[in-house]
Symmetry: C2
Subunit: 702 residues, 2 copies
């Protein structure tokens, strides 16, 4: 296997020609190692068996890594001809348990293994040609052809690992051992695990966009988190340590399990980890292609749900708070142990990158600082569901790699396993699986009194809210100046010489106007009728970012991340109080304002007339009232009798503005002239609505 | 009464100062004559009685003509203060049986007659001041202050007549005779009526916008109609002539009546005209303030429904086709008899303008050419429901004068009566009332074999159709070039050197594209799925104009008239065949086209994929296919499986265009580049939708 050892490529340093050769070599070795994996199947017939009822038969994965290359090269227009359209559809998708994965075998008529091998050979030639012919300039960045080549290679490396897990789930008699590297031969009793302190720190997560290594889109961005002091187990939990949990009835005590965990355990009738075997007295462990006597000093391999149950059991036993580390805690541990990154090591500091053995090894074999196995051996489950970091952008050539997992149901695993290579073995690697999923993964526990807060950073999909976010915060498609920005500019210019302290924004919506004003005025109250809407600016204020989905065409969407700090609007953010409130039934506390802004609100009220009749009560003397409205009254929203205008009265047209003026005249002086500002609401890439709002400025009489 | 004789004012000729005096004099006399009318009420108490259960009590009309002045002067900003806001609401509306007329007396607390008289005096002074102070330049046109003054005066003159009808409906003991001019004292047997021929001609209806007399908005425009030869009764139908119909059981024979007429007769249990009185043997006639022995030689006064029943009775008796004249036939008669217009006569040629008597007079008293009473005596019902002429524009200072009557339910009366003065006595006067309504109106019958075609020129109010009309034909609010016009330009430029004869527009909509193309190509088939839509361009093609309503704000609307000839698009109109058809299920005849245009249609089809798979069958070899689409698929419209794209397939995004191209590639060559054109859909004055359509051009392979 040694001749197949590789590292992922530095895409910044070096000479183009040499880099081309380096990438070709990386590609060829990846291809070879992938095919070598399947030599462990006893016969071609086994390709039509399933390792996991929720996964495809193995032939799919043999074809998939080749087909992926071709589909992406086509998409990137690096090639223009298909090799085999049927294969390129059949082998395209079916990796995660996604709704669009069709795993009904009746829908497939799998080809022969030889046909797939033949296809692979052709595909390999196509990729080789592309590597020879595509223009290579350094650095290689997101939009370069060679980024797509790297994408195909790193994709194949992921499947090297996930397919090995599927093979590990085949019946023993269907596999042949000894053909994919040597397994570890060090067995023994479990060593005593101990907690070691980890000092807290403020750490920055996220890979810079100019990083020298290939990365998946979810790795990029910038996220700062304060990690409190905690203690972590020195070693990964071994089979021996975990056995105590089993012996203590852990798999039969519901209280140790999360609800999701207990549902899984009950459904699966799990009694022990998936790869454990027992005759009731002795225990054995299934590896990829063999079964061995239980190596008690190797790390236990479990899913998140089991790892979590173990922690809860341990907490209950010891009266302390044990759990898995968060992503940030894991990074903190890695920092502290000064673990070198893939390109920095001469020999891997842990059981990783296929550099040592082709299986796990004892949990006390690879020491890094005060701890063992900070990387390598088996992946380590974390408490953190994956989501993009603030600033996350989808890579358009593989736009369903990450976002479908940003659903709160996929937890990050960190650190890599013995078979993690390429991107998987890098510091920034972020892979996530459903919590009941099996990989070559175990865990390290931490003890911490800091309450675990799991953010749900899902993309806002509520169409109205998301469209409002885009109107307020999106600029990608902007064809006209931002509405809230314009209103804010007008206010700031007009009231420059006034003493304005307290400002009330009565239609906060997704918050843009409030943030704009907060840079200029010290005290902003921003109210919205709907919690659906107001939670977005609150999230911006608290977390500094928010995310939403906007429609492209049909079912295709764009993912948007708004990072407050990148808009320069975070300066005054603490000047704003966002609250939910009904402008037609305001609490008394919302009074005494120097400026009240009623922005496109009247048309949303049940009773705009009543609102207008009383709004003077909340404005300070000589204070200001700014109204913007499209006068788009609808009877669903506003009783016909409560429209201020837009109808005939005594035979004459009463415009909405005339009606408003008639009410406000008693307490306010109108500043002429009024003017119009358009608000653009984007509903899809080809459908936008323009609302032309009239702006009127009123000053309260003395 | 002689000192109160007036004529409406020439608004073009003369000197400003003299004109001001002339108008003041006209105003003062109008005011005086109006008040004189009410001297016929026996006491002030009678002001609180109703002449007609569907009209207000009389006090309303005393106040109304004054309040109207003040409301209009305010609206026109000629004054800025109200005299009495309560009066100016209470006396504002309630003239026709409109949905917004509140005739529930419980909702009114009518003031004293003295208070109203006091108000009138104040109002008179305000108007007098305005006449003195407002700037007067000649000619006086629609937008001038003095147009509003004239509007108030002519409005008062209308009510002079309508109030006289209401007084005529009061109990005899509540009125005093002899105080409003002398009634005719010529009574006798009915003269023998005869039919006289009228030669047909092509006549032009509509008052030019630069006419020298004040006119209501419905008088203006331009409408050409071909009038066939017909015969008309020499005289109006007299009481004596009509009596035969009664004696013959006319009021009890349903077959003589229209459905609407019979419903009215049954509801009212009518046995004879409203103003006839009978003790079973003798007949008397109620005038405004007295009852006289039936003057058999005076014109009968009936509503349209009774007049029509008489014609049907007469047709049945004589086996000929009798009916009322159309508006155009009446004009033709007037032309033929060379009846002078109001400013042209020294003495009125008929019983009109209060110049002769204060009642009807014998039908054989005023001869004009071969006929009698072409104008004057009593109004003459026509078969024509009122609508605006092509080019009609609403006068914004009185925008509910005409349009509410353009509903097919208000028939025109022509010719004026003994009490018609001012505008009412002019050639162009067009007043219309519900067909069951009573005025000082009777009729002349015509005999004609030409089938009566009643156009329904209502304003299109179907929101989708009207908005489409505005998008295709409106330019008032246009903020971007017209979509259809742009497509047509592109087609004409691109295919300039091609031989294009037969063109198929598969989404005719409201027809703009077809009319644009018809100027360049000899044979256009324009199909639309919906009859709602296709009838609009068909109307344009057949009648040369169409009308629709677009939303301003709330319930306020704009009225739009499209006159094809004013757009220069009528040249090729006969090149177009408009038909209703389903593009997803086209008849075989729609084949053999040199050019097919699929404009924003795919997204409306049940099955765009099926459509695309077969469209090549309808294009000639080397012919063209032009597709524009927003790719806005909705599952309501199009089954998800029939979307050409806009979804993920095998893990990759398939755009709509890619899906379309995959289908068309076999038979068509794509012309690059594609490009975008925006289509602006105006939903109200402040709400527009922009649909950005992608245009792709395809040529059929040989």
């Amino acid at each position: 296997m040694n001749h197949l050892q590789t590292k992922t490529i530095d895409l910044r340093k070096g000479q183009p020609e040499a880099k081309q050769k380096e990438i070709l070599d990386y590609f060829e070795k990846t291809w070879e190692i992938d095919e070598k994996l399947y030599t462990q199947l006893k016969s071609d017939e086994v390709f039509y068996h399933r390792g996991d009822p929720l996964r495809h038969v193995l032939i799919f994965y043999l074809g998939h890594t080749a087909v992926f290359f071709i589909n992406k090269l086509l998409l990137a227009k690096l090639i223009d001809t298909r090799i085999n359209p049927e294969f390129e559809s059949m082998f395209a998708i079916g990796v995660d348990e996604m709704s669009w994965d069709d795993l009904n075998e009746k829908h497939y008529n799998w080809p022969s293994v030889d046909a797939v091998r033949d296809y692979r050979n052709k595909a390999k030639q196509v990729v080789t040609d592309v590597i020879h012919q595509a223009p290579l300039t350094l650095p290689i960045t997101w939009d370069d052809p060679f980024w797509i080549i790297m994408m195909g290679i790193e994709h194949e490396r992921i499947h090297l690992e996930t397919s090995s897990v599927l093979i590990r789930q085949l019946p023993l008699e269907e596999v042949v051992s000894g053909l994919f590297g040597k397994i570890c031969n060090e067995y023994g009793a479990a060593p005593q695990n101990e907690l070691r302190p980890v000092s807290g720190a403020t750490i920055t997560l996220g890979k810079p966009f100019d990083h020298s290594l290939y990365g998946w889109d979810n790795e990029y961005g910038n996220y700062v988190e304060k990690v409190a002091d905690f203690k972590a187990s020195q070693m990964l939990v071994s089979n021996g340590e975990y056995f105590h949990f089993i012996l203590d009835g852990g798999y039969h005590t519901q209280s140790y399990w999360t609800e999701e965990g207990w549902n899984w355990r009950t459904y699966k009738q799990a009694q022990m980890p998936l790869f454990w075997r027992s005759d009731g007295e002795t225990y054995r462990l299934r590896l990829v292609a063999e079964e061995i006597a239980m190596p008690w000093n190797w790390p236990v391999e479990v899913n998140y749900l089991e790892a979590k149950a173990f922690c809860n059991w341990k907490s209950a036993k010891e009266g302390k708070s044990f759990r898995l580390p968060t992503e940030a805690e894991w990074i903190r541990l890695e920092d502290l142990c000064q673990v070198p990154d893939e390109l920095e090591w001469h020999v891997a500091p842990g059981n990783i990158n296929l550099e040592h053995v082709a299986s796990p090894c004892p949990v006390d074999r690879f020491r890094m600082g005060d701890f063992y196995d900070v990387i390598g051996n088996v992946w380590q489950w974390t408490e953190t569901p994956i989501s993009g970091y603030p600033g996350f952008k989808v890579h358009l050539m593989y736009d369903d790699f990450s976002t479908p997992t940003f659903d709160g149901k996929h937890n990050l695993i960190k650190g890599g396993s013995w078979i993690s290579t390429g991107n998987e073995a890098t510091r920034h690697a972020r892979y996530a699986f459903r919590r009941h999923f099996y990989q070559h993964a175990g865990f390290r526990y931490v003890e911490s009194e800091t309450p675990l807060v799991i953010d749900n950073d899902e993309y806002e999909t509520d169409v109205e809210v998301a469209n409002s976010c885009e109107t307020n915060w999106g600029d990608t498609f902007a064809t006209a100046p931002n509405f809230s920005q314009q209103i804010a500019q007008i206010i700031v210019e007009k009231l420059r010489k006034q003493t304005i302290r307290r400002v009330l924004d009565l239609n906060a919506n997704t918050g843009r106007l409030a943030f704009e004003l907060a840079a200029h005025f010290p005290d902003i109250t921003a109210l919205d009728f709907s919690a659906r809407f107001i939670r977005m600016p609150i999230q911006l204020q608290e977390k500094g970012f928010m995310r939403y989905i906007v429609k492209d065409e049909g079912e295709l969407v764009f993912y948007r991340d708004v990072v407050l700090s990148s808009t320069e609007l975070d300066k005054g953010k603490n000047n704003i109080l966002f609250m939910q409130a009904d402008a037609n039934n305001l609490k008394a506390i919302y009074s005494g304002y120097d400026l009240i802004i009623v922005s496109n609100l009247l048309e949303e009220l049940r009773n705009p007339v009543l609102f207008l009749q009383h709004i003077h009560e909340r404005v300070n003397e000589q204070g200001w009232l700014i109204i913007t409205s499209t006068y788009e009254w609808s009877e669903q929203q506003t009783n016909r009798e409560s429209w201020p205008g837009g109808f005939k009265q005594d035979g004459e047209s009463v415009t909405s503005f005339e009606g408003i003026q008639a009410i406000l005249d008693k307490h306010f002086t109108l500043e002429e002239p009024r003017f119009d500002i358009p608000l653009i609401l984007r509903k899809s890439s080809r459908l936008t609505e323009q609302r032309l709002a009239e702006v009127s400025v009123w000053q309260k009489k003395q």
